[in-house]
Each structure stands twice: as structure tokens, then as C-alpha cells.
């Protein structure tokens, strides 16, 4: 039985593993190798091996460090608020008990829109002249705010757009998780005299803690890649406050054809995400190892 199991397992898993490995092994080796060369795509000379020089140059570049800092800060804030708001809305919606199906479908729409469209629709909403938001401020007697060009607001404007787009995603996942919590636990807690807040702290949260972590990880991986909104709306400014790592890689590696340098930046980016995701990876790895033995 065991032998047949093995064969079946290999048969079932090989198409997927074959496809993704064949497609990714060359690029992975390519990036790692070329990150240590001076590969300039338009050059007729063969790329020369230069060791870790690209990496040194990266960290010596104040604009890269700034992009790195921006990306980390943005990711931390965006994920925090998306999960927090998602959680709050889930609790709210669960307690209201009406129109939930409709809400679940409609709230998915922002996440489904193409990034270019999201950026441009928000651009027109934040515009100084046709912008609804500034018009609204005007109605209440406030002066218009130059959302995307003011150094104090641009970063937060992009943050708000991102939170707008992905809070529903967190809401859907967490709400669904909450629906899996048996009512009995709430009833038991209520009978023990627990307030709604205590019920939330001691029944809801522990049950969905795994989901919260999963949502956070998913969002961290994806938010770290922030590019389209920034590229279209602010081009990294003002004063480089909205520059991100992917934008840096795109400019150097794609626009300027510095493939070696761009690869080094990609490697750094991957390592950073690996570090950020380390906790989750180890935890799920161990969980599976236990399952394997079980």
C-alpha cells in the first residue's frame, strides 16, 4: 500500500512541480548569478564577475535606502490597518445579521479592479480641480489639499488607497473564519458573565488567530511589491517619500537595462520578505512535519 501511495503521490504532484520548477530554476539561477556581475543588457561586452559590488553599491545609495525604508513602513502600516479594519468590520457585520451575502460580493469589487484603473480613478478623485474630495472639502469650507504632490500627504494618500482596496480582502477572509466558530463557545462565555468585549478577546480572537496571521502574511508579501499606484500617481515623490523597492528595481533593471544591478536589488528584496515571513514559514513547516510523522 505504501509503495502504491508513493507512486500515486509522485504522479499527482509531478505535473505541477515540473511546470513550476522548469520555469523557475533558470530565472532563479540567472538572478543569483547575474547579481554578481556588471551585466548591462545593451552592452556588447560579456558581463564580468564583480562579486558583491552591486550589493555594496545598493546599500551605499541613499535613494535605495530611502525606498527600502518607505516600503517597510508602508507595508507595516498598510497591513496593520487592513487587518485591524477588516477585523472590526467583520465583527460589525456578524452582529448586524442582514444583507451579508450582498455585502460579501460587493466588497470584493475593489480588489478585482486592475491596478491601473484603481490608480487613475483615485487620481481623478484626488485631483485639485475635478476632484470630488477637494470639492467636498470646499463645501465644508476647507481649502483644497494637494494630496499627491504635498510632501506631507502623498505617502498617506497612497496608503489610504491601498487600505481601501484591500481591507475588503481581509474582511472577507476573517469574516469567513469567524463564521466557523461554534456558537456554543459564545453561549458558554455569555453564561459565565463575559461582556461582548471579553467574548471578542477570549473566544473570537483565539479561534481565528491562525487566519489573522495568514491574512497578514499574504498582505505583507503583496504589499511589499507596491509599484503601480506609486508609479502612476506620484512617480516616487514628492521628495522620494513614496519610492518603493519594486520601483527602484524597475527603473534600474528594466528602464536602464542594468540587469546585474537590478538582480541584486531583487535578491535583497526576496531575502527581506523571507525574513518577514520567517515566522510563518517555520510554523507551517513544523506543523507539516508533525503531520508527516503522525
Amino acid at each position: 500500500m505504501k509503495k502504491k501511495n508513493s507512486l500515486y503521490a509522485y504522479l499527482m504532484s509531478s505535473p505541477a512541480m515540473l511546470v513550476i520548477t522548469v520555469l523557475s530554476i533558470f530565472p532563479l539561477l540567472f538572478i543569483i548569478w547575474y547579481s554578481m556581475t556588471d551585466y548591462y543588457y545593451l552592452s556588447r561586452a560579456k558581463p564580468a564577475f564583480i562579486g558583491l559590488q552591486n550589493y555594496k553599491k545598493l546599500f551605499a545609495d541613499p535613494y535605495f535606502r530611502q525606498a527600502l525604508g518607505n516600503t517597510l513602513r508602508f507595508t507595516a502600516l498598510a497591513v496593520f490597518f487592513e487587518v485591524l479594519l477588516g477585523l472590526m468590520v467583520s465583527v460589525l457585520v456578524k452582529s448586524v445579521k442582514q444583507g451579508q451575502k450582498l455585502m460579501r460580493t460587493l466588497t470584493l469589487l475593489p480588489t478585482l479592479l486592475p491596478p491601473v484603473t484603481v490608480a487613475l480613478v483615485w487620481q481623478i478623485m484626488l485631483s485639485n480641480n475635478f476632484g470630488l474630495i477637494n470639492n467636498l472639502l470646499g463645501v465644508f469650507g476647507f481649502a483644497p489639499v494637494n494630496w499627491l504632490l504635498d510632501v506631507n500627504t502623498a505617502f498617506y494618500a497612497i496608503l489610504v488607497i491601498d487600505i481601501w482596496q484591500y481591507t475588503p480582502f481581509a474582511f472577507l477572509l476573517l469574516y469567513a473564519a469567524m463564521q466557523g466558530i461554534p456558537e456554543g463557545q459564545y453561549e458558554a462565555a455569555a453564561m459565565d458573565g463575559a461582556s461582548k468585549w471579553a467574548q471578542f478577546r477570549f473566544v473570537t480572537v483565539p479561534n481565528i488567530s491562525r487566519n489573522i496571521v495568514m491574512v497578514m502574511l499574504l498582505r505583507v508579501i503583496d504589499t511589499f511589491r507596491l509599484f503601480d499606484k506609486v508609479n502612476i500617481l506620484t512617480k516616487g515623490g514628492p521628495a522620494n517619500t513614496t519610492a518603493t523597492i519594486t520601483q527602484y528595481i524597475y527603473h534600474n533593471g528594466v528602464n536602464m537595462f542594468k540587469v546585474g544591478y537590478g538582480s541584486a536589488a531583487s535578491v535583497v528584496m526576496t531575502l527581506i520578505i523571507l525574513v518577514l515571513a520567517y515566522g510563518y514559514i517555520r510554523q507551517s513547516f513544523n506543523a507539516r512535519k508533525r503531520a508527516l510523522k503522525g
Partner: protein, 403 residues
Amino acid sequence: MKKTLALLLVLILTLSMTAMASAEPVKLVIAARGGSHVDVINAVKADFEKENNCTIEVLGLENTDLKQKMALDSRNAKGAYDIVMLDDPWMPEVTEAGLLLNLTQAGYADDADFVKTSLALGKAPYGTGDTFALPFAGNVTLLFYNEAVLSAAGAQVPDSWQGVLDIAKAVNGKDGKIGYVIRGQQGNPIVGDFLPVLWAYGGDIFDADWNVLVDSAEAKAALNLYIELLANGKNFEKNDIVSSVANGTAAMSLGWPSWYIVGGASTAGYAKIPGKAAPDSVEYPSGVIGNWLMGIPANTQNTELAIKLLTYLTSAATQKAAASVGAVPTRVSVFTDAELSQKYPFYATLLAATEQSVERPRTPKWGDIENVFGIELSNAITGIKTVDQALADAKVAIENAIK
């Protein structure tokens, strides 16, 4: 068995021969900048297709994608494109890499009808070398102003930047009006918006020996004026700039003609960009020239036909016909054509401005330079760094970029 095989063989041979024998029209592929340029090419290609029994396919891509495509395809032995469009600042890096066919060596003789500054862009080295690309779409930055606002302030169209500032000061804040609008978005926008001021003050990014001059006294004076303009105005992005100037909320701004001029009518007044700092200063050429050029990839598979098509697309007749679909010419004869000048009165100003324009520095590293210069300029106008600090950092960054 043998008989079937023989029959099959004959069948295959016949089929393949008919396939080869049929006169398949040659397909020419143009890699172009998506948007109006694609519309222009599609509007004029029919005659050429008929005359030369070919089909022309136009691939319209966004800026960076187009550049990337050109570079990637250049590596292939058999090129997929027969004509490529390129933004003029790309010329140095593209020609350094040998991506384009040397038109002069292929027998093309320069046509003096092209505006000199436009034709110079297509040569490598700039202005003096062989021709590698021809100017397809003309463009140069101009000063745009709202006539009503200016006349209400009793002002004439300024010919110096001090004059611009004076009008801005007079207009700003009164009746909710904006004196001057800068295009201060980091990167290509702010660099393009600032360069005319820099040049008018006698400054530049590089000198003839490629020493970096961005921290010179002239540059500091120019940047200080630019910041003063912002103090008497606003910082908007492209769409807001146009709507402000067009509907009279703002007095003046710099811009590309294609933003304001659709068909023959312009939504704002336009003039050559002032080339002097003060009314009695030396006058320098100050408009930024930005042409879309067309070249032939070195690895094209249809050299003869591609050259023919290139000549056709940039010919006077084609440019004249394309004017009605929004194309901006690059030939003197088309600019001065009587019939067109009547329909498009802005041609005269555009021609004069183009002849007096300045090209951005011709270096393969322009993308990097524009990037870092844009960051530091943004630092300066937002007050994050002082003018001196920003320009000093810009100098270091630009020197690093061209190393």
C-alpha cells in the same frame, strides 16, 4: 502501402508548393508609442500598403515597455520589428548599443526640409554624425497663459522670468487666482518643467566636457526663482495644470502643445518660453525639444521596404495629411504650408520655438540623471532640503550616474 505513401508525398509536395507560390504580402511591424501616434500611423498607412503589396501592423506600447521591447528584440538574429519609435533622449543609449540601422550608410541622404534641431536629434553623435532616426512627431515646450487673466492684470506676455514672477505676484491670491503653476511631480515632470528656467539663467546640467554644473551660481539663481514662482502659485499635475490655465484659475504655466491644442483651437494662449532671467539679461534658447523619432532596427528582415516606409511616414505629403488627425509636423515646409497655417495658427510659434529649442543632455545615462535630478529638485521645492544642499546632492548623484 507504397502507393499510399507516394500519393501522400505528392500531396504534401503540391500543398507546400502552393503555399510557397501564393504571393503573401510582406508584413511590416512598427513598434510605436501607444496613443495618438498609433492613430496617426493607422490613418496614413493605407496608400503605402496598396502600393507596395504589404500589410503594416502597429504595436502600440507604453513608454518603458516600448524601450524594453526594442532592446530585447535587438538580441534576436531575426528582428520582429521593421520600424521603431523612440523618444529622443533614448538616442544615445540606443545608438551606442548599435540597435539602429545606419541610414546614412544605407544610402539615405539628409533632407533639409526637416527642422534642423529635430533632424539633429536623429544623428549620432548628436547633430554631426550619421543619421540613424528621423523625426516623426514634433513637440517643444511652450509658455501657456490665460489671456483673460493677463489682460485683467494689465500685463503683456512676459519675455523674461523676472517678468513671469512679477505677473505671478500680481495675480496670485486675488479673486482666488493662481499666479503660476509648476509641474513639480518628482522625476521627468519636474526636470522638464525646470530645465527652461535653468537654461534661461545661463545654467545647464553639464558643460562641454561633461562636468556637472548643477550647483553653479546660475543654477541656484534659477532654482530660487522657481521656488519663488511656487510661492506665488501652485504645484499641480498635468491634467490640473491644463484645466487651471484653460479655465482662468491660473495665469501661466509651461507645457507641451499637445495638452492644450486639439485640432486648430487652443484652450489657452501660448508663446515661446522666456529665454532671459531679467529683461536686460542675455537671452538663451530655453524651450525643451521633445520629438518622437523613428528608426529601423539593425536586425530588421525587410531593410529595403522599411527604409521606404520610414521615408513615407516622415514625408511632407504624409505629415500634411496627418495634420488633420492631430499629428504635429517636423518639416519646415509643412509648418509653413499656407493651407495648414490657416487651420493651425500655432504652427508658426511652434516652428520658431523648435528652431530655438534646446535638447536634453545627450548621454546614455540620461534616465538615471533625470531620476536623481528629479528627486533632488523635488527635495528643494518641498523644503526638505535647502536649495544649496539639494543641488550639491544632485551634483554628487549625477556624477555617480555618469561614472
